[in-house]
Amino acid sequence: MSQDIVNSTTTTPVAPVVDRPLQAPGTRPQTGYIGKSEPRANAKRLLQGRGSYTDDLRFPRLAQVAYFRSPHAHAKIKKLDLSKARVAPGVIAVVDGYAVRDICSPWMGVLSHLKGIRSPLQFPLAIERARWQGEPVAAVVAETRAQAEDARDLVEAEWEELPVVVDMRDALAGQTVIHEELGDNICFHRELDTGEVDAAFAKADCVVEESYSFGRHTGVCLEPRIILADYNAGEHSLTVHHNTQSPHMMQQLFAKHFDIPEANIQVIAKDVGGGFGIKVHTYPDEMCTVALSIMLRRPVKFVADRMESMVSDIHAREHRVKIRLAADKAGNILAFDLDDLTAIGPYSVYPRTSGIEGNQVVNLTGGPYKHKQYRAKLDAVFTNKNVTCQYRAVGHPIAAAVTEGIVDAAAIKLGIDPAEFRRRNLIRDDAYPYTFPSGIRFEKLSHHKCLDKLLEIMDYPALRAEQAALRKKGIHRGIGLASIIEVTSPSAAFYGVGGAPISAQDGATLRLDVSGMVTVLCGVTEQGQGTDAIFGQIAATAVGVSLDKVRVLTGDTRVTPYGGGTWASRGAGIGGEAVLQSGKALKSNILDVAAAMLNVKKVTLDIIDNTIIDTTTGEKKLPLAEVGRVAYFRPDTLPMNFQSELTVTRHFVPREYAFTFANGVQGSLVEVDPDTGFIKMLKHWCVGDCGTVINPLLVDEQTRGGIVQGIGGAMFEECMYDERGQMLNANLADYLVPMSFEMPDIVTAHIETPTKTSELGAKGAGENGTAGAPAAIMNAINDALLPFNAKVRDMPFTPERVLKALGKV
């Protein structure tokens, strides 16, 4: 029995889980802005086109870089002639991999807790060999971007094409090996076995087996990747304006690979045009841009254009999964057996690795159910396509689709309604804390409450009745359900324990300003999710001020407390709790000052609505602005020995559980045209439980956006490659992103099961939608196809694939 489970690493004793209400016992409940649908303050400038995205910044002596990329999926660089490019108008420098190698040390995308994971060293620019179409090979720096691109076209390369490995099954077979030094194409292999799986299958009354495949997608942040590096030789300092999700992580990596003290490096991410996990990795072209700024001692900017984004932003998914399920005749699931093969490109991406997605599939498959036996095998293999790494809902859509797909297959075989079958098998809401067969521990989930709510808002029986009536008229509708679990707010078990320089904790600093306003600084970052907005709500609530009095600043390593940034739905759960604790501490310190000013006991005072009040009489004593004025300008009027502390910092990291699991369930209603294969999504429902909902307005649209991204993967999006490893649709016209017309209205609802591991009680909400949508859609399509005895299993579900399933083409 293998138990190399990533999240079971916490062996040190931890504090027991305690119930921590938002207010001390006996106090009047004051939730303030928590749970209120407040529009985001920082949205107004964006609505007027007055955001500060990285490409909007202007710098003196700014140079721009364009990259010459490999046109081949696998080829030896026989000759690289840069001479013509070097003399083109406006050109400042043209460099190859050897020149940059001296400035930037190479990296390797491995983590020690993913046992056995391997990857070769990777350099900013390919040296000797290129291993995917789109890998950067030479950099051209010029006065303007147009000049850099013109000169890039003058780079001449001679190539010797090498055999390519494109199909993951070929990669596994290993006839052609991409990295000779590794001996085969296996990046990461993992097995998990609870034991007794074969016995469970042997005694089962019902065994079902399916094979599913998932296309490669990419994130398509509407704002492409942008980095502007400004090295100052005078103080050996580096300022990087970067639309990254994780400024402190990048600061660490720049320090390490450019040998600059971390304290001399400032990473700033102002407005960021979408992240989705795309902007949280080390990209060779971005590292090279920093190297160029150091070499040229001036600011250098790189803006990926859309075509190069398509072959250089990380891709994700691309799995082939075989899954089996065993059940007894009463409809109880006994066991799952999983075999996942996934292709990750030629390198494991640094520093998070490309092993995590497959690892998540192993961890999460079967996650909502109460079976006891589970066996899983994973192979992540190298191929000559663009690299893959963590993209929104990492592994979840695959785990959810194979789980929910096979669960439906079992329900159908047993003749039980899919909703009823789930009811029988979902972990009971009173069964927590619960340890899942993969070793994951759940604190408290609410699968049954969520399912009940979903069926109610869908009006499930009515939909079934309508479906049956329409079928008689030749209209084929399908209803699909999908229950999911979602990893949120991870502890260090996700990355830190494996040696990655990624902070699991986050800090928040709150300051009372002279005017009685509150400034919040937090290490979590904003890419549009509304983190700044919820931090404002939490801070206002904790201190006792109105929302208009709070200003929030994130995304700058020089001014915010140290933190991990935004990924894995950690903003609200981790950053939010840090803000709450910091706010409570600030309030206490403000009351100290007020008590000194008024010469009363602190316990007799409170802050409500920007005012110090007497708790017993409710009488207004002082406006907060008066506290600020006295503390900063007239401290001489305060008692001798008294010092005001009106700036406080608190940090938070979840300790009791490796992950703060959230859960949810989705429903999908589709109509399939059996003659054309076209699928119309009629409506979609989602009930999510992200614990305390801080701002329903934000959670709802965040959920919907996630669902639409999930629908994209299920229905439209695929990075298509030919047998030579050429990406065939590397542009937005051919790579299909969901448009508003095809999207259904999406109904959302919430169940709130606050986590008791924090006072705020928030779990993450960012990935639930993406995790469950493909599964729900697939089940809906297959439900519509049931009378035809047809089934789709390969995403995206194009009309052609539907017609193939129907045997029509």
């Binding site: 609505l47 086109g49 995205y53 398509v220 942040c221 960021v272 979408g274 859309r306 508003s740």
Partner: protein, 163 residues
């Protein structure tokens, strides 16, 4: 050297004359030369709609429009319709419903939305969805955007009915 052409346009109500390289598209010109960074380039091949702006009163893809082709024309950008107040009601509706997240698609979306109000004042949800289909949003689920536009249309219809 790039071939440059002297070009005069009325930009957000003000006449400007510049020598512009013939190959420069309108968004690059506005962003790089005029400092109007509200128009965004999401794809530069005419698909995403982030560059949507108005030429002679009609919305166009700024990335597919050459700046020199705008000689003698009237250009309105998100900055212009914000400062004039023309987009205020739509911006307010977007804000109230959180019809934006990262905001990168938003200037183009607002330009398209106020164009819809002008051209299809009676549009229903399905038609709104179709009208804005040339504008990609990767963050929202489009639902809130449709809600916001629908709200503006309904309030205008109500006002229209009263007058």
């Amino acid at each position: 050297m790039d071939y440059e052409i002297e070009t005069t346009m009325t930009l957000n109500g003000t006449q400007v004359t510049r020598r512009i390289a013939a190959r420069t598209h309108l968004v690059d010109f506005l962003r790089e030369e005029m400092g109007l960074t509200g128009s965004h380039a999401g794809c530069e091949h005419g698909v995403c709609g982030a560059c949507t702006l108005r030429v002679n009163g009609d919305i166009v893809r700024g990335c597919l429009t050459l700046a020199v082709a705008c000689n003698g024309k009237t250009i309105d950008t998100i900055e212009g319709v914000s400062d004039s107040g023309e987009a205020a009601e739509m911006q307010h509706a977007f804000h109230e419903r959180n019809a934006l997240q990262c905001g990168f698609c938003t200037p183009g979306m607002i330009m398209c939305a106020i164009d819809l109000v002008k051209n299809k004042p009676a549009a229903k949800r399905e038609e709104i969805r179709e009208y804005i289909s040339g504008n990609y949003c990767r963050c929202t689920g489009y639902h809130a955007i449709v809600d916001a536009i629908e709200a503006v249309l309904i309030s205008k219809q109500r006002l229209g009915g009263k007058s």
